[in-house]
Amino acid sequence: MSAPSPGSAPAARAPFLAPHFGSMGSQLDTAKLGTWLFLASEVLFFGGLFTAYAVFRANHPDLFHYAHHFLDWRLGALNTVVLVGSSLSAAWSVRCAQLGQRRGLRVALLVTLLLAGVFMVVKYTEYSHKLRHGIGWGAAYHPTAEILESLPAALRAVPAPEHLGTFYSIYFLMTGLHGIHVLVGMGLYLWLLRRAGRGDFGPGYYVPVDMVALYWHIVDMIWIFLFPLFYLV
């Protein structure tokens, strides 16, 4: 296919233009289409899990009211605020790259990475607290007497509903898969920081900054649904 073009003049070719693209514009448009298709597959991926949640909740509404007492809404709200903040800095990093503000870009990328780290620390605190008190998934649900004490008196008076382990299977699967996405995002932001430090990005080339930010926003968007569905019920 790639016949040597007459007078092959690669001199004016932009450094980050892949050989199979005619221009930076078509490269950006293709990256956008590919990223949006990937995000569509992410929506469908989590869509299956939201279906499991919805079916279980439709059939066992009492279970969700009982189980959400073991989730601390304040930590969930804190993580929502942290992720919204990181989404702002991610959007800001795209703006900085587009405007050629190199220092601002590095700061915005670093803030996004740090906030993602804060999210994972809070998540770790929540998970370790649950697992220490025997709140595991499926058959591993054996709550300690100590954590049962923390329930409201009205709930302690009645027998615990069945299938609590299944509720926590759904909880750990959905928040855990989301957490893995956050970890992947942290890896991507480390990579972007390295490249931004090298001065790769500017108004002429900001594809990776923009596409990683799109991914990061969808991670934020999924949490926007997970927070009220699990913590607030």
């Binding site: 289409l33 597959s41 929506v43 939201f50 926007i224 009220p228």
Partner: protein, 120 residues
Amino acid sequence: MNENHVSPREGASAPHALPAPVLVATAAALMALTALTVVTSRIDLGAFNVVLALAIAGLKASLVALFFMHLKYENRFSSVVFVTAVFFAVLLVGLVVFDTTQYQPDLRAAQQAAQRAGPR
């Protein structure tokens, strides 16, 4: 690919950077809606609580998509791709919930009947 294949739009080199006030206002609205969803969850509205929480979450997600993900200023086709996926995800959840709530009463009745019959 030669030059005459490049659409005029691609030639426009200056990227469309979102104004800083738009980004800050979006984040502020998301924070306010987070507070709103916490407050409304404390008021007992029965089954309407879930509907309200999902409506607020949907509004927040729309703000993220339109401004942070700049779909509002993007080629319309990106929106088509994304909205199609969301539509089918909602269709999946909706129809499956509709289905399970239809046969669940029969299932419960059958289980109770089996219990009354006692272990064989």
